[in-house]
Structure formats: structure tokens, C-alpha cells
Symmetry: C2
Subunit: 246 residues, 2 copies
């Protein structure tokens, strides 16, 4: 059981939305922090691998929640490594409510890259494949991240990446993309429904001042596919998201 | 000394800006949370006073920092009540670095209002003036919040309040205003200088869909006064800010 890391949180007042429930952006932030804590405790944290000129890159994130913690409620995050492949590793999460009951799950896919060449590192060759020792068969009963396709030709929103969007690497941070995608939907969507599943595929980095265009397909049944592209004349995909309301 | 509440934090990866230092928005969030913890521990927290149909309203916030914690560094927040008047109370803060050294201070001014009438409550009459027992003469060597005046007639930025801006009361949240104000300045301002002092005067609430216009005066010497107004035809002041770069 010590392959699973367990971390405790409380839903702070500025971390809940107008319905009084934790926001997906804040939950995403906690999940990624827990990934960091868990990896650090096992010798694969950012600080350690940065010394070898390597860094972790988040490729996919899928979150599926039965409910969200309410303002001031305690909640927990459990995380473990499901698979290690040559170029990717799957890290899963469970979210528990104040009583320890599982109220949701998440899946993430990560690559490790060389910070100079930006090329992927062979995870199975690193540290004699030691990372595979942490693989754990804890169940994660939600679908894997899907292939997201967006057909829309006209953006529904255009914005410029600002100071608050930018992380220590000079990139728009992974959590801000989640917030920008959720901001595409009117408040009524959150009043009458809630996001059951959220997926993000991180494709390329964007930077301060980049023009970000948001393309949206309504797939029916509360499913929306979103593509974020950067650039004005020529446009390049930065990420794709799937939002499922119920 | 137990009149002072002390709380511990760590500067998380998504809570630092591109310089690797904690953002002012996140620090502001921690300060307001600590205000909540401290008040709750003394019987004046939101949950308790909400039962009497009262709520705390933040009127002013001034933060002045010698430096900001770096990514992954531990830091602390101390908070205490400086004064209790009939309609306002002054709450101060000190921010300590990983070694416990004070690296900054903050001042805040709060009113308590009746949630139905929106009228202020007499703090000295409440609970037999019990709140005044917590007044503490700990020094807070930064200036009190100033009177901010903005002359500019044309906005430098116009945006609409979105889902992620809105808190559990249905208002644009106090921290988001800080982020929106900081986003008015180009990244170079943060690369070559840093914000030494930040003030916010909260004047009125704004809501989902409100058009927020930002007016900016360059007062010289790195001082910028900002006014946020809501509305399109007739405009009403929502808040005023002062940003001092060094």
C-alpha cells in the first residue's frame, strides 16, 4: 500500500466557484502537486531529475468526478503509478471526500525530456528501470484519455497570454488552460449542470503575448470538444480539451 | 503572544510566476485565508457570524514585500487585530521566510454587514465588545492604505467577468481583481523590477458578465494607480488599486 501517496487538503473560500464547490482548476493544481510530492518522495521529483538536465512534461490529464468537495470541507488525493513505458508513464489519482469515500478519479500521462535537446528520455533505462518498482495495480475505474477532434473553423474566443498565465518555465501554465476552457461556457451551464469529466491533451507550449484562439464543437449530450491554437497568421495547436456536463 | 495566529505554507509550482517567486494573488489568497482561520479560532469566523446573518466584507488590503518566497520554499503568515472601531477593524499580517525572518507585511480593513440589509454592524456592541479583547500592539512597519485617485479617461483594458472570476457569493472574487490589475503590465516590468507595494480598495461588487474597464495613471517613480469600473453606458467604480514597482 505504500506505493500509493495520500495527501490532505481543504477547499478554501477562493478555491470554490459560485456553487460553493471546489473548481476543477484548483483540483487539477492539487493533483499535479501530489504527482510532484509522490515522485519526489521516490527519487523522481523535478528537483532531482533537473540535476540530470531532465524534466517531466504533462501530456494528458483526465478527471472524472461524482461530486466536488464543498467550501471548507476536507478532502484527500491518492496517487500511484499505473504503468511505465519507454517514453511515457501513466499516473492515476483518486479523490476522497471528508469521510474518506472516493468521489472521483483522474488519469495522467507524462513524458520525461532532456531540457537541452527537448527529446524524450527512456524511462526504462533510467536508474536501472527503478521507476517500474513503483507500478501499482490499484483500480482506476474511469476511461483513459480519448482522442479529441475539433471541426470548428471559427474561434469562439480569442485572448492574449498575460503575466498571470505564465509559469516559471515561461510557458502558459497547465492549470490556466483549464480555467480558460471552463470560461468558454456561460454561468447557467454550471448552475443547472456540472462538469462530470474533463480531459486535456497538452500538445505544444504557448508563451507570454501569444494570441490564443479557442475553437469549440458541441458534440451533443453535454459533450464539448475544444481546441486551443496559438498564432495569428499561421496557427498551431497548443492543446485540446473535452468537457462533459451532466 | 497567542493573540497572533501563525500559519505555514509552501510556494507551490503553479503559484509562482515566471521569475520563480510566489505571485501576489496567491499571497493575497493566503492572507485572507489566515484572516479566516484566526477569526474562526476566536469565534468571529464567517461560519459563526453567518448564523447571525452577518458577514465580513474586505474593504482595504495593502501588501508590502522586501522579497517573495521562491518556488518550493516554506514561508509563514502571522496575523493579528490592530484596532477595532465601531464600523471597521484593522487586521495586520507579517510574512516570514523559510528561516522565520520577516520579509513583508500587510494591512487589511474589514467591516461586518447584515446580509439582508447590507448595513454595517456595530462591532463594539457585538458579543459585548468581546472582539476588542484580541487587539494586539504588534508593530506593522508599513504605511496604511492610501487614498487612490485615478484621472485617466480612457480604459487601457476592457474585459468581461467570467465563470472563473466568480466566488460563492456570486461576486468577482477579491483575488481575481489583483490578478487582473497585475495583468495590465507587460512581462518586462516583472523581469527588470518587482512589485514592492500593492494596495486595493474594494468599493462595490461586480457580477458575472459585467464589463470591467481598467483605467491607469502612471504617477512616475514606478507608481501606478488603477481604477476598475463596471458597466457600459453608465460606469460605477468597483475598486481602485495602487501598484509600486522597484
Amino acid at each position: 500500500m505504500n506505493k500509493i501517496g495520500t495527501y490532505k487538503f481543504v477547499a478554501e473560500p477562493f478555491h470554490v466557484d459560485f456553487t460553493g464547490r471546489l473548481t476543477l482548476g484548483v483540483l487539477g493544481n492539487h493533483l499535479l502537486n501530489c504527482a510532484g510530492f509522490h515522485a519526489t518522495e521516490r527519487g523522481f521529483g523535478m528537483a532531482t531529475i533537473n540535476e540530470d538536465n531532465y524534466t517531466w512534461v504533462l501530456s494528458r490529464l483526465a478527471i472524472e468526478m461524482d461530486e466536488m468537495p464543498r467550501q471548507y470541507e476536507d478532502f484527500g488525493v491518492q496517487t500511484w503509478v499505473e504503468n511505465v513505458y519507454r517514453l511515457f508513464t501513466d499516473r492515476n489519482f483518486a479523490v476522497t471526500d471528508k469521510d474518506g469515500r472516493r468521489i472521483g478519479y483522474a488519469r495522467s500521462v507524462w513524458a520525461m525530456i532532456n531540457m537541452t535537446t527537448r527529446k524524450p528520455v527512456d524511462l526504462l533505462a533510467m536508474h536501472n528501470g527503478h521507476i517500474a518498482d513503483y507500478v501499482c495495480d490499484e483500480p482506476c475505474p474511469i476511461d483513459k484519455p480519448s482522442r479529441i477532434k475539433v471541426q470548428a473553423k471559427e474561434p469562439v474566443c480569442i485572448l492574449q497570454a498575460k503575466y498571470s498565465d505564465i509559469d516559471v518555465n515561461g510557458h502558459v501554465n497547465s492549470i490556466r488552460y483549464i480555467e480558460h476552457v471552463l470560461d468558454l461556457f456561460p454561468l447557467d451551464y454550471y448552475r443547472n449542470r456540472r462538469v462530470r469529466r474533463f480531459e486535456m491533451a497538452y500538445v505544444a507550449e504557448s508563451y507570454y503575448g501569444d494570441t490564443l484562439s479557442f475553437y469549440l464543437d458541441d458534440e451533443g449530450d453535454g459533450r464539448y470538444a475544444v481546441e486551443i491554437k496559438k498564432g495569428v497568421e499561421t496557427k498551431e495547436t497548443v492543446c485540446r480539451a473535452l468537457v462533459v456536463f451532466v
